[in-house]
Symmetry: C2
């Protein structure tokens, strides 16, 4: 050992002990014939006092920042205490020290407020990892990992490793593939998730499985996606949806307690996918704040209920509203008092290309009961009052209204709501609100192929009472424009997402476990029986030998850590992340390989 | 939940409770108007009693083995108790049951003594995984995983994930590579180990790192190798070799205690590589039994000590011995009494092609003190006595002698020793003997390239007092035939292997942490500076910014589990292993991929 103690543990109680520390020079301050060194390691910072005798030596062989040194001396009480740090009441009166390794001047400062830009810090990631902020992130990541494992272990889950070199069965995202040298012309694929393996483990009777496991998706990288990412992957047998929900909200609550010291005792809200879309405009609502959305002219039927269609805003000769596919409104508390400038600013905000709306209509429901709007020309006060009432606006609120194409408008108002919450300080990153979103549609319609695609994945089971609907109907869509009339359009899945502060942190489903239903699903997705057998024959086979009812969930581990750490970026919580082009700029990977390697693999690069 | 209890937990104390169980039908026995079903799940087997009323239903809808059923009934005391199993005193008087899923007749019996051959069980791995023996292996694997994590956590190690899509830097084994779609013509590589990343983490100050991590090597598979395998990978800073040895023998002892209930309190023996080679003929001796090897004519110089060279066996006109490069002897306790037939059998054994020796000489040192041998023509009793004395044989022993080329003979006698130990019952699989092998040579000589290769890997440090030898000498080998005279030939590494019962379960080293020394190492391996920078520039760069002294170790997790489970085969301890051609026969992977995928990746298959 190069040290007797670490740089974070010495206290007043250690005064007079001789100790040896080792670490990095955080800073040096010379005062005439003595010097102070802040020595840093993983555990903290301890002040070294270099007295007159050694100080001369220091002049001859000067130390720089980030030098690695070992120092021996007596722990002493400091005259000038620093109560900001745990070791701040003591210092080491150094009797001897050794330079273990020198350091060139780092390309950026190793401090909380670093002067290094993103690219520089990615290239020298090993230096960026020294910064306290990054270290705290990785420590949090480890704590979450540990807590998850502890909980799952207590609940009798078993960590079982599944293979990384598997078979390519692209369905959804693209696979990364690995040429096989021993089987020329053939490829392994890297798993997008251990989905089929964990299901096989259920068929094998393992009952409760988990893994903290790397997964791979060769997607065009949007901001904050990584080609390799980590999942907490779980599966259970002999359970129903409610068992899963309770088990895994338990997991997240346990993590809150262990990692953040938060007692999350309230029950986790559950919301149907329809309600989420209807009230918040998306399937992962941030419920830390209210401000629900109201649809005041909907092409969607909501439980066949909205009688208001057209009546609220129709017959006013306001073309924008008359021609819009959908019109969505949101009441903003205390916004009636906004200036014209403020409304204009929000109008500009929704007109930015990222949002892409044509404009914004607003209604002021003033404290004095009067109502004014930007469309007074078309709507009199009575009609405005009706709209305000329908939107459940209160005196003092303003109502913002967006109109246009269904999907775009929904997205826009959802973004508007979030930004509004942000600006109003309603999205406190130290407040955590969990939510289950349930009852997703089983299928989505693919216009391109005029067929159904699985919303979650092809192994998700329909609601039990809709299995018959699925089995007894031909999935083929005869008339594309009427796909919504097809019985499959209404089938809901036994699927669930866990949402934390507006982010999907996990998702899963009860699985199909009957061969007939699984085959029907593959039919629905347009797979021939041959193709289904080629890709998933092992799973269909397994279902013939006693598959139990089962289901599971996977949590996005990187994102969960980021949110718990109060950050939006998963990259900050990955030790060696890739950039947005999927490159590791530190390693300079990917890179070319030798012809010898290519030859051995029986492949060549296409010109 | 489909059950109130599992199939392993009900006892006499539960009698009269109504319970619901779910699981697989292990067996059905009909006795007239009643039936007994053994119901199996992950936790055990419970007997169900189907009374007269339900039995009729059972005749109409017959159950088969491996059907999945759910049964409700009252826990009752059995009249005919089975004390072999924990639930054997009770049974469930079933009041209703449901078939949750049917099962076809499995292709082999799901029992400890299965009738399924290897290939069949690999194809239906999900059924093989149901067998108790395989389940016990995976449970043991999980227990080892858990124990390792617990120990390392207590010792302040942090699990930090390192990337899987890295850069190809073949040096040693072949990399698996992954074509990058977004960077046409470029490839990622899958890591052979996280070696350079864990070193970077030390440079970053993380101090104590671990990971239970998949690694990949594209080697021609020998028996019991897998293209993907798992390591317990660890690294520490500010330590010396002795710190590592103590830390990690602690890890293995902790695993013994947690997983096997064994208090391994004795200290772990340490042996130099030279002693291992000299006394046991290999670098991973099984020290559960003694029977050391004696070199009675050595071309090797052992600490310049053996004066006996030639004297013991020379001047006897026995051509075989005179012409042999080396002659190795082993004393077998109580073997003087063997019959001629027994000696002949061992002679045949060493002549098998796997061993490939020409023959075997034996000397009987009889209980009465007389000495006879198969070479009495050449050696009189006095000379034989001298040999016996040199081999430290005792009365009643026999000495077996092999002669031939150095390496082959050493391997042969080492195999002979192990087989002898096996047959004499000295290799008890419930006895565990740990051993550190130390002081490996830093370099090996590559005849093919007339250069040095790293015995461990290029990041291993020489013994501190030999750094100067390395730095101050030109690594180039001028005269191939005299490579043993080169100063590099004698350099010992700060490297160590942990050996358990004759198997290497882990290996590591103190690392180089100075750029100059690392560059010298790359020089020695015949890398140009340019090549070194291209492949390992990030590491050389990192060494310029304050790299601490560090070192680590990696344990072969699959093998460790196999040995703890008393098996020779790692495949039995992997949930979804590949066969000896690297195929997953269950998935049928690797396999061909679409032209679309190939196009996207800008590669084509070579005809």
């Amino acid at each position: 050992m190069y040290r007797t103690h670490d740089c974070g543990e010495l206290r007043l109680g250690d005064v007079s002990r001789e100790v040896t520390l080792a670490g990095w020079v955080q800073s040096i301050r010379k005062f005439g014939s003595i010097s102070f060194i802040d020595l840093r390691d993983r555990y903290g910072i301890t002040q070294l006092l270099i007295g007159e005798a050694l100080n001369e030596y220091l002049t001859e062989t000067p130390l720089g920042r980030e030098f690695v040194i070992q120092a021996t001396g007596i722990v002493s009480e400091r005259s000038n205490k620093n109560l900001q740090i745990p070791t701040g009441e003591i210092e080491i009166k150094v009797s001897r020290f050794t330079i273990l390794n020198k350091s060139a001047t780092p390309p950026f400062t190793i401090q909380d407020d670093t002067d290094g830009g993103d690219d520089l810090r990615m290239k020298y990631r090993y230096l960026d990892l020294r910064r306290n902020e990054v270290k705290k992130n990785l420590e949090l990541r480890y704590a979450v990992n540990r807590a998850a494992r502890d909980y799952l272990h207590q609940q009798k889950f078993m960590d079982i490793e599944t293979p990384f070199l598997i078979k390519s069965t692209p369905e959804g995202a693209r696979d990364f593939v690995v040429p096989s040298r021993m089987n020329p012309g053939q490829f392994y694929a890297l798993p997008q998730s251990p989905q089929t393996f964990k299901q096989l483990l259920m068929v094998s009777g393992y009952d409760r499985y988990y893994q903290v496991v790397k997964c791979f998706r060769d997607e065009d990288l949007r901001a904050d996606r990584q080609p390799e990412f980590t999942q907490i992957d779980c599966e259970m047998s002999f359970i129903e949806q409610d068992d899963i929900l309770r088990m895994f909200e338990g997991l997240i609550k346990f993590i809150f307690k262990q990692v953040k010291g938060i007692d999350y005792t309230e029950s986790v809200e559950r919301m149907s996918w329809e309600d989420a879309m209807w009230n918040y405009g998306n399937d992962k609502p941030d419920i830390r704040f209210d401000m629900k959305i109201t649809n005041i002219k909907s092409p969607l039927k909501r439980n066949g209920a909205l009688e208001a269609e057209g009546q609220i805003i129709g017959h006013a000769n306001f073309n924008v509203f008359d021609q819009a596919e959908t019109i969505l409104a949101i009441s903003i508390p205390a916004a009636a008092a906004w200036t014209r400038k403020q409304f204009d600013a929000w109008t500009d905000w929704v007109k930015r290309p990222q949002i892409g709306m044509q404009g914004l209509v607003y209604i002021r429901y003033n404290e004095d009961g009067t109502i004014k709007s930007s469309v007074d020309k078309f709507y009199n006060e009575e009609r405005l009052a009706a709209i305000a009432g329908f939107c459940e606006a209160k005196k003092g609120d303003a109502i913002l209204i967006l109109a246009g194409r269904e999907e775009k408008t929904r997205k826009a108002i959802s973004e508007l709501r979030l930004e509004m919450g942000e600006q109003m300080g309603l999205r406190n990153k130290d407040e955590f609100k969990l939510l289950w979103v349930l009852d997703f549609p089983l299928f989505e319609y693919s216009e391109e192929d005029n067929r159904w695609v699985a919303r979650h994945h092809p192994f998700t089971a329909p609601k039990p009472d809709q299995i018959a609907v699925m089995i007894n109907n031909d999935p083929a869509i005869r008339r594309a424009e009427q796909y919504l009339e097809h019985p499959y359009a209404g089938i809901k899945a036994n699927a669930y997402d866990m949402v934390l502060n507006g982010n999907e942190i996990g998702g899963g489903s009860i699985r199909i476990y009957q061969r007939e239903l699984q085959e029907k699903m593959f039919d629905a997705l347009g797979m021939t029986r041959e193709e289904a057998n080629h890709k998933f024959g092992f799973l269909l086979g397994a279902f013939e030998y006693g598959a139990p009812p089962h289901g599971g969930i996977a949590f996005g581990f990187d994102r969960l850590c980021a949110i718990l750490g109060g950050s939006e970026s998963i990259r900050d919580f990955i030790a060696f992340p890739k950039n947005n082009s999927g490159r590791d700029v530190m390693l300079d990977a990917p890179s070319t390989i030798d012809d010898k390697q290519l030859n051995e693999l029986s492949i060549e690069i296409k010109a």
